[in-house]
Amino acid sequence: MNAPDRYERFVVPEGTKKVSYERDTKIVNAASFTVEREDHTIGNIIRMQLHRDPNVLFAGYKLPHPLQYKILVRIHTTSQSSPTQAYGQAIEDLDKELQYLKKALEEEKVRYEENLRQGY
């Protein structure tokens, strides 16, 4: 009867930003990003990609509660970088990786089918 609508898990409510961030008031180059309506799928790949960046001193994410459909990503960087820059770079790199992966898979399928034909 009072169950929340199922779509609340993936539709960003009106008037809410998909991504917002707040700088840490006590540490330089540290910030927390709040990503609405996302979960481990996005959280974990961003975290792992941030770990590849040597300017990132700390990167972590959490899903605060299973019924709060948002994740928090916390980033702390050296003075050579900034949390926003590292965050943007991580997404950029992941996007390029997936783009590359898609092309590689398509090429591999062509090769696989060519091999099948020669097998006959």
Partner: protein, 321 residues
């Protein structure tokens, strides 16, 4: 400043097998987070079409209306166009009531029984208004009849059972199929199973192995619940016959220790190599499911980018100075 250095990876793929509803491939040179994200997206976020709204006109069957509506929802429908369709929630051509071609497909079902024999109402009785969207078993049967009728179960295949009718019972309804994702309801999930495993790397300490008698070797091999090792009939050496049969159960390692030969074997999971097994419900071909998952993941990443107005690198710098 932006995008000065890149820490991008270049993953490698090797396809082992592709069938319409099955695919096995190796994914290398990336990490578990990407493999798991792909698996999660395939299961819960690749869109398909499924029956979502049912208007029952006549139902004198033994099953109640909502029971039948639920069963209809679970029938997998061919969803090759789902990536291009609109979610009825975001559709501006209609109010999401399923009266428009961009976001919905209408089905009709009208069956009544007038014989003494039990009549099965199946997915084959669903009449679609859009030929590209129909129950997957009906589509597969039409295809196999056209090519060769031996490839599919012949004769016995009568579609997916929805309800059974006895004499005098009738079922008449209108159903609307919509685009959706598995996160909303599992009926929209195109994946039957998606799994990945780390590729095992097995090192046998040959020197230590040769201190075992043939009998001991056989005993040790038999301690593995799956057939990973065997004995070469000529050299009587222990060889790995199927590394991937290993289930990371540690049985052979424990056995080696129990035999007083610790270090006889070492097994690691390669942390950058994955073996994927993808099984589809038939709504989308398995290969297309993987491609769609990559595309959806890219769209998701695109959505979580910081907007330009928020990117205040210099603002932050000056704030701290």
């Amino acid at each position: 400043m932006e995008g000065a250095v890149s820490y991008q990876r270049f993953p490698k793929v090797r396809i082992r097998e592709i069938k319409d509803d099955y695919m096995k491939f190796e994914l290398r040179e990336t990490d578990a987070s990407i493999a798991n994200a792909l698996r999660r997206v395939m299961i819960a976020e690749v869109p398909t079409v499924a029956i979502d709204l049912v208007e029952i006109e006549v139902n004198s069957t033994v099953l109640n209306d909502e029971f039948i509506a639920h069963r209809l929802g679970l029938v997998p429908l061919t969803s090759d166009d789902a990536m291009r369709m609109r979610l009825s929630r975001d559709c501006d051509s209609c109010d999401g009531d399923g009266q428009c071609e961009f976001c919905s497909v209408e089905f009709h079902l009208n069956v009544s029984c007038d014989s003494d024999q039990t009549l099965d109402v199946t997915s084959a009785d669903l009449r679609s208004t859009e030929p590209r969207v129909c129950p997957v078993d009906v589509a597969a049967r039409a295809l196999s009849l056209g090519v060769d009728s031996t490839s599919y179960d012949t004769g016995d295949h009568r579609g997916i059972l929805i309800v059974k009718l006895r004499r005098g019972q009738e079922l008449r309804l209108r159903a609307i199929a919509r685009k959706g994702i598995g996160k909303d309801h599992a009926k929209w999930s195109p994946a039957a199973t998606v799994t990945f495993m780390y590729e095992p790397e097995i090192h046998i300490n040959e020197e230590l192995m040769e201190t075992l008698t043939l009998e001991e070797k056989r005993n040790w091999i038999d301690s593995s619940p799956t057939k990973v090792f065997d004995i070469d009939p000529n050299t009587h050496q222990v060889v790995v016959v199927d590394a991937e049969a290993y289930t990371y159960d540690d049985e052979v390692i424990k056995k080696a220790e129990a035999m007083g030969k610790p270090g006889l074997i070492e097994i690691y999971g390669k942390e950058d190599s994955f073996i994927f097994t993808v099984e589809s419900t038939g709504a989308i071909k398995a290969y297309q499911l993987v491609i769609n998952a990559i595309e959806i993941l890219r769209q998701k990443l695109d959505a979580v980018r910081l907007q330009d107005s928020e990117e205040s690198d210099f603002g932050e710098l000056s704030a701290h100075l």
